[in-house]
């Protein structure tokens, strides 16, 4: 954990960073992220619903849930909370079921107060060494001429 965060610059190129300002006080945004009765209302893309099997909101605690897609498919999720600093910072590992173990993320969500509004910044660090490698080095190199990849390269460049 500390190793991963010690140098923001060294991780910047293997992260997806998303940020959004919410028109709500920080305490409320924090509650919406960390209280299971709130989280179920918004987690997941449009049309998804969630079933929580376990929501143990403490360091080392596990949150297990199934996301139900609009197409009827179910997606198993497992989140392990690593750091909980109310109302500023939430760090967790997010994986799927055992089948998709190689695609785990290390996620840091920060909440900052901006004159009554709240900026949420979410950094998803890919934990798979191979994917990391891919993101860091190759896309630029392999991209040549493949138009479809241009969009991704542009996106990764911003990461």
């Amino acid at each position: 954990m500390a190793e991963k965060n010690k140098d923001a610059a060294s991780t910047a190129d293997r992260e997806i960073v998303l940020t959004r300002v919410f028109d709500a006080p920080r305490e409320l945004v924090w509650a919406a992220w960390t209280d299971s009765k709130h989280v179920a209302h918004w987690w997941g893309p449009t049309g998804f619903t969630n079933t929580f099997q376990e929501f143990d909101m403490r360091v080392g605690g596990v949150w297990r849930f199934v996301m139900h897609g609009p197409d009827g498919r179910d997606y198993t999720n497992k989140i392990t909370f690593l750091e909980i600093v109310k109302p500023e910072r939430l760090v967790y590992d997010h994986g799927g079921d055992d089948d998709c173990a190689p695609l785990d993320f290390h996620v840091t969500v920060t909440f900052s107060d901006q004159a009554g509004k709240t900026r949420v910044t979410m950094r998803s660090l890919f934990d798979t060494a191979a994917l990391r490698d891919l993101v860091v080095k190759n896309f630029g190199a392999i991209e040549g001429g493949i138009q479809h990849l241009g969009r991704l390269a542009e996106y990764l460049g911003r990461m």
Partner: protein
């Protein structure tokens, strides 16, 4: 996309020589000899890498021509791109929903506040 296929793609891409081979192929088909040249590798050494790339579906090798040229197949790369794009969309939409939900919560809070 199947996750095991995605993992195979990542594994194949994790090696710098294989990435360099793909980069070379992005400008057109090449023979094994041509691919071996810049890496100062033996033909069997290059063939090993080509097999990994072939299994990951990143290249195809023509059976027609005698020199069996290797060609880049961008489909798995598109899948990776789609996958990253999906991840971003997942969160953009979740954030939209959170935004709506926070508005709802605040409306409720205000109502309660006035009643008091």
């Amino acid at each position: 996309m199947q996750l095991d296929q995605l993992s195979a793609t990542f594994a194949a891409l994790a090696d710098p020589t294989r990435r360099a081979i793909l980069a070379k192929l992005s400008s057109g088909a090449r023979s094994v000899t041509e691919l071996a040249e810049p890496f100062k590798m033996t033909l069997p050494g290059v063939s090993k890498h080509l097999k990994v790339l072939e299994r990951a579906g990143l290249i195809t090798r023509s059976r027609d021509a005698q020199w069996r040229p290797c060609q880049l197949d961008a489909k798995p790369l598109h899948d990776v791109a789609d996958w990253v794009e999906n991840y971003r969309r997942f969160w953009e939409q979740s954030f939209d929903r959170l935004d709506d939900y926070l508005h709802e919560l605040q409306k409720k809070e205000k109502k309660h506040g006035r009643k008091k």
